[in-house]
């Protein structure tokens, strides 16, 4: 009851940065409210990642090593997490708001009798209550939300907190996964990789995002070039994803992902509220749009009014000189 459990999502056998952000915050909160912080890793190589969890503040790491967790399927993950939650018996469970987490959060809460504060921008935990602020109405408003339920789940938007290390000496507890496949009800047929990206969009320091203004393959080539020069991940608006020019995994916004890089390029994006909801926490926003009245300029740090097909070749050449 007097601890915070952090579920750490894994991608490519590495703990996701957004999970380490959540763990770093949990460590601070735990220190202030006098609660121990524990972590859970569910992955075939869980034990190898435990030291990373210790370094970021987990005193105990529950490792559930089973290859079934290496590709996402909700039923086993819910079963595995329920077991760890029972063992840890925490006040709150904190996790990064990834698509994988969003898929299990509701069902897991019902199974373990937990309240949920989903997709929060900030949170605090005491033994009496858990409080958070979460964006609503396409991030037009922030809602202060509270729960006094004995067990509360919190999923944290990526980029809400900085990753920081603590000096924690920790233990590892291996937990067996006993799952009856017959109860599965669902089978994973296939994973279709839509991006060959090396940089994970939700964790990137630089994002180059394309909108409908990028128009065609030649525009995409210019965007790709800017991304490769700046080491950026590629994002996209819904309108340009609909054209098929960019994959849906690249979509940023209310339907898509939330990003908060140091530097965000919005190329040919109008700045609809549902897009801005996913990127307005970026530190520096550069907008390139030929319409001087486009709403994206209301959130841009630096706005370039003009044709991206004229601006990008010049910008790419200039940045290449500086960065190489």
């Amino acid at each position: 009851m007097n601890s915070i459990l952090v579920y750490l999502s894994v991608h490519d056998a590495r703990i996701k940065r957004s999970s380490l952000e959540a763990l770093s915050r949990a460590r601070e909160v735990g220190k202030a409210s006098g609660m121990a912080v524990e972590a859970a890793i569910l992955h075939s190589a869980a034990a190898e990642m435990a030291s990373v969890a210790h370094a970021h503040g987990a005193s105990k790491v529950f490792c559930m090593a089973n290859p079934i967790f290496d590709s996402h399927l909700n039923a086993p993950l819910i079963a595995g997490l329920s077991k760890v939650i029972k063992m840890s018996s925490p006040r709150a469970v904190v996790m990064a708001s990834t698509e994988g987490v969003k898929d299990v959060l509701g069902a897991l809460a019902i199974r373990t009798d937990a309240a949920v504060l989903p997709d929060v921008a900030s949170f605090y935990v005491t033994s009496d209550e858990v409080t958070c602020e979460r964006p609503v109405m396409a991030a037009k408003l922030l809602a202060s939300t509270t729960s006094t339920h004995p067990l509360v789940f919190i999923s944290v938007r990526s980029g809400s907190y900085e990753v920081s290390e603590g000096e924690t000496v920790g233990t590892v507890e291996e937990v067996a996964f006993d799952f009856d496949e017959a109860t599965l009800g669902a089978t994973l047929r296939e994973i279709v990789q839509t991006t060959g990206d090396t940089v994970d969009l939700s964790e990137a320091n630089v994002v180059v995002a394309a909108g409908r203004g990028v128009r065609d393959e030649s525009g995409k080539a210019l965007v790709d070039e800017l991304a490769s020069i700046t080491g950026a991940a590629i994002g996209a608006s819904r309108a340009v994803v609909e054209t098929g020019l960019f994959p849906a995994t690249a979509q940023i916004g209310q339907t898509g992902k939330v990003v908060s890089p140091e530097l965000y390029f919005a190329v040919g994006i109008s700045g609809a509220i549902q897009h801005v909801a996913g990127m307005n926490n970026s530190r520096v926003i550069v907008a390139i749009n030929k319409d001087a009245d486009a709403p994206i300029f209301d959130v841009a740090t630096y706005g370039l009014v003009g044709d991206c097909f004229k601006i990008l070749p010049v910008l790419n050449a200039e940045l290449r000189k500086i960065i190489s």
């Binding site: 898929d103 309240a115 609503v136 408003l141 009800g185 209310q254 530190r283 004229k310």
Partner: protein
């Protein structure tokens, strides 16, 4: 497949001023559309259920006009105190006496963006589910779902009965035809009381976050624009 789609009426977040205009949640509209497409050419029903105030009838009629079969209106005059947990329990009570091959919901509501009610409902009913679907196909007894995951699309086969939450990336919902609108007007929409439930979370206040300030904006030739930008990125923002 016998479908039931859970729909919600939400404020139009797109409206720049708070107009109070209410619309069918965009994600739910995609769920209705997808059920209609999967059932095209069959006699299988696509039913609807909505929890909301009496005034939400217009939203139900809109979804009926798209081509849905029948709707139930669970009347709750104010959704204010109900969180996803409460909504899922009200819906679970409804489905205790209604059987379907598949229940569809939007992946989230455009207003609260919680994205929980669907998967909570599935767990309460003890049926398999998938969230954030961008594609749906009936295959014998199975419903094959393509869902948008973190780094790609995952294709999952669910045994029916099952539940799927739908993304608006799934399709473009149809505009109701005149015939559809006229037909929807004539349909009876039975009202029902909500089961008594409790919320586990509480919104104490909502407020406008400190907005970003618009920065500088330049017009001119590409060369000029780029040199201004690069200089700012290096000297002011320190990101290069």
């Amino acid at each position: 497949m016998k479908f039931c789609v859970c729909i919600k009426q939400v404020p139009d977040v797109q409206a720049s001023v708070q107009t109070g205009r209410m619309v069918l949640n965009a994600y739910d509209a995609s769920a209705v559309e997808e059920a209609l497409v999967v059932n095209e050419g069959t006699d299988d029903v696509v039913d609807l259920v909505l929890i909301g105030p009496s005034s939400a009838t217009e939203t139900i009629r809109k979804a009926l006009a798209m081509g849905a079969s029948n709707a139930t209106h669970i009347v709750v005059e104010s959704l204010g105190g109900l969180d996803s947990h409460a909504i899922a329990h009200i819906l679970a009570d409804h489905f205790a006496s209604h059987e379907y091959d598949a229940i569809l919901t939007g992946k989230q509501s455009q207003d609260s963006d919680s994205g929980l009610a669907g998967s909570m409902l599935a767990e309460l009913l003890g049926i398999p589910f998938a969230t954030n679907a961008v594609g749906l196909k009936a295959e014998g007894e199975d419903l094959v779902v393509t869902r948008q995951g973190d780094s790609g699309q995952e294709i999952v086969a669910l045994k029916t009965p099952c539940l799927v939450t739908c993304s608006n990336d799934m399709n473009n919902p149809r505009i109701p035809s005149l015939k559809g609108i006229m037909g929807a007007k004539r349909k009876q929409i039975p009202n029902k009381e909500a089961a008594s439930v409790s919320a586990l979370t509480d919104v104490s206040k909502s407020f406008s976050p400190p907005g970003r300030e618009a920065g500088v904006k330049w017009e001119g030739e590409a060369e000029e624009l780029v040199s201004q930008l690069v200089s700012k990125l290096q000297n002011e923002a320190g990101v290069l």
